[in-house]
């Protein structure tokens, strides 16, 4: 048997031994142990080093408030740092290592900081590293980061799965201790939908540490019977291993369930962690209370811990935290704990009570000395406690002990109720901060509400749940309260806490994780940072990963005592989510890697892949960028060939990603007329028109085509990027601005596969797959009509061109897209057809001077981009009309769309470069505009660009300086018309047969 394991007792399975390693050494424990209990059983009291001074530290708690015993668990891709050993469920082959030490836990170089602590006082970082600022980044911060650190996360990909889920209930009970179990049972028997969540792997809370009998049986058996009944109720959901970490608006709670973190190898059929968003009609905070540490010299030495934790280790895990335990207290609860420890077979050598006359003299175990009116001024030992020094009435005494259990009183765990900004309320009766009244939807029950006895907690759970049941219109069953053996007296007026034991001979710690001691808080007060929130930031008290679960109230009490005030006047710092740390994996859920964002594929995706496309991500879309062929040395070679093929023969491009909205109704024409800045009322049936939408501030919002398919039937297209925004814009106009207009519309973007067939041979190729007559007379430019494909498929044909070539856009039902594209490719083979991608599409439109969102960047007017003639000022109203008439939007020196050709025809122009007058000093003060789009033009054989240049249309022929500061380039370019190719639009309808 291990050194500290008691011979009997505990909720561990002694028939199931488990072996594990800590810092490379083999240890053993049992099923039911935590890492902390198993290490204590093996006599390991040193579990970590503190953050700042690297002081040796041991476990202080048996739960989630643990500040010291932070370890890294697992290896490889599953290495997880900063886990509290008190919350790590032991499993076979578990490997854990300590943190923040070098070279080893017992010999740590960083402990030098402790000797230098006079230099490392509160505010030290602020004072010392304030300047020079360059030193901070290069010298101080890396040094501090290396010296003071937590564990390191793995950079490898997490192999495990996470998920998120919603849950709904009538009553959420947070905490499965005495109050929580009774509340869940009361509500469950009444038929309410109940969720009972607890951070522990075993439900029962304090009942698992209770040493008295309930209804004549051990308290943990009593808990097990309740849990068994709850598990059998179909309307009750039990969530063990689930921390409710946040209380959000509308009584929505966030919880993290550690589904498989306790298994050596998680199954891939389940997530390892699950985030719950629980919508609760009512909730009860049955979170219990946290024991307060006592602040005395040397109170951080390994072996010094909370008295309640010492009892939990004895009662629940069958572990004696020491062979000679001294209990230090300032309240009755310490006396009771001392008695309970003795009942569990732990030898208590002394009870040191700071009070001169205790209100209640619990019978002390045999052999234990009681020292009343005594203070601890120091502890002895190095890596673990070997004794302590007490002072009583001026007399000093050394006591031998190997563990110190401290009982400073209890702080209700009020955090969740304070997360909306309400502050905990100091109670003079309880001498504790109680939860604020946050309304009937979220109430505290049991110890969390300030009740201190087991009977009161059990009764309060029943009472609070009964009220909820009645409130929700049900009748509550009678739930009898159990008999408790040797019940303690009911909560009376609590004794005043001892915030600081006087005469400390060494540092008396308040915040163990961040190494804040009482002297730091005194310094903060002296230097003017005495406000609770100031002192927190000045000293870093309560700013560690435990968020001050043990230190927050003590700091408040100390500041109050130093100022001569009540803690009520000092208050306590703000509680925010999360209650305990939540892993990034759980927060990300399934939204990671390729699932991080939706992955949108065109209906022609399979066709493009078969054609060997290289893809580019454009927003959520994956679009073909270009289609390389063997022997082409780079992407430019492919793009140049695709452009030349379109200009000389024919090419096929997938344009399915354009937004498509179909509109119907008697007022559809009027509606569109108000949305576009150009006239739409008299668009004939069977025709398409280019359209420009403005924002209400007069800037261009989006462009696209409007096709009238029937008298009251329209189809509009949007750019790919703005499809969702335009849809919402239309909905706003129809529902909010003009709800009286009779128009209905729907997005049909995904219903149609759409392809552009462009080039002099386009008509011949298309005629091979379309039955209808495609002659110029039957399908003139801007025609928009239904067609029948050979084989009978119905589609829509639009005679529109983005490239300046003879071009058609053919739309067919999405599922037929690939077959139609393949048929066109087959028909075009004899004509030298090639597929072309986004890159060639971009070159073709730049050559033709067509704009995209590179030019329509939200700061340009129609006139800026050469489309001022489209503004139909004679229309009574359209969105953007009024503000587009403002002086600032019609000024002559606005940037205007021009073309650029580099004087040295070899120079590539880059988008984003600034334009300056020739000879001007390179500076944004001399800015004349910027390059919006640029490419190499295979048609012209040199680079070209589109730009917005001040008064640009008057400056054709001028030379401007292209200045690209990012790439350190300056060269001259000539200002030309933005239409580089076929300015007279002869190619749209070739005169001679192609």
């Amino acid at each position: 048997m291990s050194a500290h394991r008691l011979l009997t007792g505990g909720l561990i399975d002694r028939g199931k031994p488990l072996s594990f390693t800590f810092d490379g050494r083999r240890h053993s424990g049992f099923a039911g142990d935590t890492l902390a209990s198993a290490l204590l059983a093996d006599g390991v009291s040193l579990m970590g080093r503190s953050f700042k001074y690297h002081r040796p530290r041991g476990v202080m708690t048996a739960g989630s408030a643990e500040p010291n015993a932070l370890v890294t668990v697992g290896g490889g891709t599953r290495r997880e740092p900063n886990l509290r050993a008190t919350m790590v469920e032991l499993h076979e082959t578990l490997t854990a290592v300590s943190q923040n030490r070098w070279p080893s836990l017992a010999t740590d170089f960083g402990a030098l900081n402790d000797r230098l602590s006079a230099l490392l006082s509160a505010g030290f970082y602020y004072k010392t590293f304030m300047w020079p600022s360059a030193f901070w980044e290069k010298l101080y911060e890396p040094l501090i980061r290396r010296a003071a650190g937590l564990g390191r996360a793995t950079l490898k990909r997490d192999p495990d799965a996470y998920e998120k889920a919603w849950a709904f209930c009538d009553l959420l009970v947070i905490g499965a201790g005495p109050a929580g179990l009774m509340a869940a049972l009361t509500a469950g028997r009444a038929g309410l939908r109940v969720i009972l969540a607890d951070e522990d792997f075993r439900l029962g809370g304090w009942l698992l540490s209770e040493t008295r009998l309930i209804d004549g049986r051990p308290a943990h058996d009593f808990a097990a019977i309740l849990v068994e009944e709850l598990a059998a109720l179909p309307n009750v959901t039990l969530l063990p291993r689930s921390t409710v970490f946040g209380w959000y608006d509308d009584n929505v709670f966030g919880a993290v369930e550690r589904v498989q973190k306790h298994l050596p190898i998680p199954s891939d059929k389940q997530p390892v962690e699950r985030i719950w968003r629980i919508v609760a009609k009512r909730a009860l905070m049955a979170t219990g209370a946290e024991e307060r540490p006592l602040v005395f010299g040397g109170n951080d030495r390994p072996g010094v811990m909370m008295a309640g934790a010492a009892l939990t280790y004895a009662a629940r895990y069958g572990v004696a935290v020491g062979k000679r335990v001294a209990v230090v207290t300032a309240s009755d609860s310490g006396r009771q704990t001392a008695a309970a420890l003795a009942r569990r077979g732990v030898e208590v050598v002394a009870l040191i009570d700071a009070r001169t006359a205790s209100a209640q003299a619990s019978p002390m175990p045999e052999g234990a000395r009681t020292l009343t009116g005594a203070h601890v001024v120091d502890t002895l030992g190095r890596l673990s406690v070997e004794g302590l020094v007490t002072v009583r009435a001026g007399f000093e005494e050394r006591l031998d002990c190997d563990a110190v259990a401290m009982a400073g009183g209890w702080n209700p765990r009020v955090h969740l109720a304070c997360q909306h900004g309400a502050k905990p309320v100091w109670s003079d009766v309880h001498q504790a901060f109680l939860p604020p009244d946050v309304g009937p939807d979220f109430q505290a029950a049991g110890a969390a509400a300030g009740l201190s006895t087991l009977a009161e907690a059990l009764g309060d759970g029943v009472r609070k749940a009964t009220a909820v049941v009645a409130d929700l219109g049900r009748s509550a069953p009678t739930v009898p309260l159990p008999e408790i053996d040797a019940e303690e007296a009911a909560s009376g007026a609590a004794a005043s806490p001892v915030w600081l034991m006087p005469g400390a001979r060494s540092k008396a710690f308040v915040d163990f994780q961040n190494d804040v001691h009482a002297g730091d808080l005194a310094l903060a007060l002296r230097e003017g940072f005495g406000h609770a929130e100031h002192a927190k930031r000045y000293t870093t008290n309560a700013m560690a990963t435990d968020q001050g679960k043990l230190s927050g109230v003590n700091a408040s009490g100390l500041l109050a005592a130093m100022k001569g005030l009540s803690p009520a006047e000092v208050g306590i710092t703000t509680y925010r989510p999360f209650y305990t740390p939540v892993s990034f994996g759980a927060l990300a859920g399934t939204a990671r890697d390729e699932e991080a964002v939706p992955h949108r594929l065109s209906p022609l995706d399979g066709w493009a892949k078969a054609q060997g496309a290289m893809f580019v991500e454009a927003g959520l879309w994956h679009r073909p960028a270009y289609f390389p062929r063997p022997g082409e040395k780079d992407w430019r070679a492919s793009v140049d060939r695709e452009v030349r093929t379109v200009r000389a023969a024919v090419g096929l491009c997938d344009v399915s990603t354009l937004g498509k909205i179909e509109l119907f109704g008697p007022d559809a024409a009027e509606f569109l007329n108000r949305l576009y800045c150009n006239p739409m009322l008299r668009l004939p049936v069977g025709k398409a028109r280019y359209g420009l939408m403005l924002r209400e501030d007069g800037m261009v919002f989006d462009d696209g085509t409007v096709s009238r398919l029937g008298h009251q039937h329209y189809l509009i297209t949007t750019t790919t990027a703005m499809a969702a925004k335009v849809m919402s814009h239309l909905e706003h106009a129809a529902q909010v601005l003009w709800p009286a207009l009779q128009v209905r519309f729907a997005s049909v973007s995904e219903q149609w596969a759409q392809m552009s067939l462009a080039g002099p041979k386009a008509r011949q190729v298309l005629q091979a797959v379309v039955e209808d007559d495609l002659s110029a007379e039957a399908v003139p430019p801007l025609a928009a009509q239904a067609v029948t494909l050979r084989g009978g498929l119905r589609g829509r044909l639009f005679r529109i061109s983005f490239s300046g070539e003879l071009a058609y856009e053919l739309a067919v039902p999405a599922g037929h897209g690939r077959a139609v594209a393949e048929a066109i490719m087959a028909a075009g083979r004899a004509h030298g057809i090639c597929p072309y991608g986004l890159e060639a599409l971009n070159v073709l439109r730049i050559e033709k001077g067509h704009v995209t969102h590179a030019e329509l960047d939200g700061r340009t007017t129609p006139d800026d981009v050469g489309l001022g003639h489209m503004l139909a000022r004679q229309k009574p109203d359209f969105i953007g009309k009024r503000l587009s008439e403002r002086y600032g939007l019609t000024a002559a020196d606005r940037g205007q769309l021009v073309g650029l050709v580099p004087v040295d025809r070899q120079r590539m122009i880059r988008a984003g470069a600034h334009l300056l007058r020739e000879g001007a000093k390179p500076s944004t003060l001399n800015d004349q505009g910027h390059v919006t789009s640029a490419c190499y033009s295979p048609t012209l054989g040199h680079p070209i660009a589109l730009a917005l240049l001040k008064s640009g249309r008057e400056r054709l022929g001028e030379r401007v300086l292209v200045w690209d500061r990012l790439h350190k380039e300056e060269f001259l370019a000539e200002v030309v018309s933005p239409v580089f190719v076929d300015p007279d639009n002869r190619k749209i309808e070739p005169k001679e047969p192609a």
Partner: protein
């Protein structure tokens, strides 16, 4: 912002399904209204501490624009109505 918005068409739904558009009390001026009226409509926005009336669109649901009256301080949603009905003089 509240965690849930009760859409009059879809019931209580998580706020992530909605997109805010802004102040719902602004009325689009007549085309011939003054420059000041248009400037105020396009550019001037109150940032109230307390009750605020906004348009929220149920983009992940029925796609309707809703008039949501909420308290920016307490995060309480006080009322939700369909914007078209409000605009046409229906239940506000």
């Amino acid at each position: 912002m509240a965690s849930l918005i009760s859409c009059p068409h879809c019931g209580p739904r998580p706020k992530e399904e909605f997109a805010v558009r802004g102040d719902a009390t602004l009325l689009r001026p007549a085309p011939e209204a003054s420059d000041e009226a248009w400037h105020a409509y396009v550019y001037l926005r109150a940032n109230p501490r307390g009750v605020h009336v906004e348009h929220w669109q149920h983009v992940g649901g029925c796609r309707r624009f809703l008039v949501v009256e909420r308290n920016t301080l307490t995060h309480d949603v006080l009322s939700v109505a369909d914007a078209a009905e409000v605009a046409q003089g229906g239940a506000a």
